[in-house]
Symmetry: C2
Subunit: 415 residues, 2 copies
């Protein structure tokens, strides 16, 4: 037996293209870790008819339903009203919640709008769920055989309330089937080639299940096991991972949720090498992604965003003649940028990028998407050019960033 969960997200802003629903993905990971089987996410807007239908259908299918959004102080927030209608009773004013909201706002010196009073209303039979980091309380209520948790849509508030109120309740349910995941991160083959290599593992109904995810130039082999205990699920995962590793060979560059910048930071930390960047077209993206890795200061010396040619000359020492002779987007300039950054930041390795991200600036010789790279290491600088497809400025910049991580994972770091 498994306990089934569904995740709902409400808000016109989600349905009408203004905001991406990031809550459902995060919730799924949390709920699956404690042993629920997440079967669906549903997103709809603020229309009460649709919100009611979505809640009623999910509660008819699942054991646990977690909904986010629609709990705000304004009139377009309708989760409470709709749940009261489904349960056939009026909303009830919950004085302690109102007191908490007033105190929360007053402590911060903010006005206490009367409209916040709406947030202290509870559907019949509902239990209020404290919001320690905001004004919108949530609630838990039984609808048929399902337990519905309604949480605010603000990620920070929702996450805290899931930990405080939902996970402890769920963990006490009988019949849980905990799951464990292992991820093997792969760089190199096409999805089809990888699929052929591991096809015997990708059989429907296998436990652990093995699947492939493609994202941003990377492939991930996902292993998901379920078992009556978390420890058993983890053992199953580890056994399948051990079977897969020899099949993946050199393609395997990292395990777990490691992203490329983390893998680069780990590789440089292990080799005790330091790194610096000189970025033109990537414009700080390399530094930004690397600095997102905790503890990266042991590895990262710094970076220069030399967006203007003056900065390339004055701060990186790129000779003006080189810029004049070859143009800013050229291998000689990339090489001079990398060498300059390596020296000025006192790093072992420096990478430079200079390219045409578009939409303007392309020419027949150097169309939009032309990016020159250079890597400087002790005693050697090498430069190369990649023609990235012109699929938009963000695409060109992302691919250029990917090319740098790929290089830094594969470049020899010794000597």
């Amino acid at each position: 037996m498994t306990l089934r969960a569904e995740i709902l997200a409400f808000g016109d802003e989600l349905l009408h293209g203004a905001l991406l629903d990031t809550n459902s993905k995060w919730l799924a990971g949390q709920l699956e870790a404690v042993g629920l089987t997440v079967e669906r996410f549903t997103v709809t807007g603020d229309d009460p008819t649709l919100v009611r239908a979505v809640i009623a259908e999910a509660c008819a299918r699942a054991d646990v339903v977690v909904a986010t959004g629609g709990l705000g102080p304004t009139l377009d927030d309708r989760t409470r009203d709709v749940v009261a209608e489904l349960l056939g009773g009026p909303l009830e004013f919950h004085a302690p919640s109102w007191e908490r909201t007033r105190a929360w706002l007053s402590q911060r010196g903010r006005p206490v709008p009367e409209s916040n009073r709406r947030q202290a209303m509870l559907p019949p039979g509902g239990t209020a769920l404290d919001n320690p980091v905001g004004t919108a309380p949530g609630f838990r209520v039984r609808i048929g055989r399902a337990t519905l948790f309604a949480l605010p849509g603000v990620p920070r508030e929702m996450q805290q309330m899931l930990r405080d109120h939902v996970l402890p309740f769920v963990a006490a349910l009988p019949g849980l089937m905990p799951t464990a995941q292992s991820w093997l991160r792969v760089l190199g083959p096409s999805e089809a080639a990888l699929g052929e290599r591991i096809e015997p593992f990708m059989v429907p109904g296998r436990n652990p299940a093995v699947g492939i995810t493609a994202s941003g130039g990377l492939l991930t082999v996902r292993i998901v096991a379920s078992a009556p205990s978390r420890a058993d699920a983890e053992s199953l995962c580890h056994a399948t991972a051990a079977d897969l590793r020899p099949l993946l060979g050199e393609w395997l560059f990292a395990e777990g949720t490691t992203e490329l910048p983390e893998a680069v930071a780990a590789r440089f930390a292990l080799a005790r090498r330091t790194l610096a960047f000189a970025e033109s077209c990537t414009g700080g993206a390399l530094a930004d992604r690397l600095v997102a890795v905790p503890g990266v200061s042991a590895v990262f010396r710094g970076g220069l965003v030399a967006y203007h040619d003056d900065a390339k000359r004055q701060l990186l020492g790129v000779p003006a003649l080189l810029l004049a002779a070859h143009g800013a987007v050229s291998e000689p300039v990339a090489a001079a940028m990398a060498a300059g950054a390596r020296e000025r930041f006192g790093a072992d390795v420096a990478v430079a990028t200079t390219g045409i991200a578009g939409p303007d600036g392309g020419s027949p010789q150097k169309p939009v998407g032309t990016v020159c790279f250079a890597l400087a290491r002790p005693g050697a600088v090498r430069a190369w050019t990649v023609r990235i497809a012109d699929l938009g400025r963000a695409f060109v910049r992302d691919r250029a960033v990917f090319e740098v991580w790929r290089t830094l994972l594969q470049e020899p770091l010794d000597g």
Copy 2:
């Protein structure tokens, strides 16, 4: 009468927390612009029973259903099989699609795995949809009174195929009700305070509908109008926007889909001022977001990611004594960083950030979340400190970035 649409996304990687579904949001914007009313998104995994249920239910409710994912070459991709089952017939081999896939792979010098042959199978009555940028063709098929479009999950391929095959088909349907949107971007009030100010506009059933979205410290007032023609819908939007502007007053900082970095770039371009950054804890994020704005080279001179104290000293000229006396995270050091960046990049305005993003490095005097900022302009440098709540490294960095955009939008740029 309106034509109703639903959007489906399939893939274990979406359901089990490995990958965020960004396709549905994008699709919703495209489908609504041509006049469909999008009512729901549903995400489920690769389990064929769930995929079948989700497709059957959506096709029973909606006129147009667009599904992404589950069309890959590997065994966990099941959309084709499930649709054939729903229609009660076997999959049919579509030779032209197979030839196209073979040609596509061969032209790129890639092997042609036999497993790609699966992608050339069509459900009964289905029409193949060419994929000009990948190997997975899609298909269009009638299920009951609904038209189902099945597209690959790779965003670039999906987007191209929507433009080529879906939008022209949908635009020819009778009974469309085009919509238009206007967004007013607001900086300053709480959501409740903004809601009270514009409450008369937030009535259920109003056309245009007016709603509030909160995201990353910003509020957006969304206006969505529908009318028999796109032009009428736009007029309705514009009229409501004109009514709202005086109510918003100084809170209104931009219109449309303008994000903060775009608004900053536009403000500096208008004032003919240039900008540079010296980033420590934000680590290139300011430069990265600003460089994402097309045409920013007129405004942005460059930035230095001075992650290591050596870089603060040698590249920005921060005196070693200042670092020793006050520590790297201090207002005097922030001020020296800003002044150094302004001078070295030859910019009119420079902003510096230095702070403790965590998880390590905090102290009782300077806990994690302490961030010092400085802004240098001709003849003046001002520094200030913000204590950001310690809700994780990414949160601290995001809030620090927000503080800089807020400052650059509100700081006087004259004199």
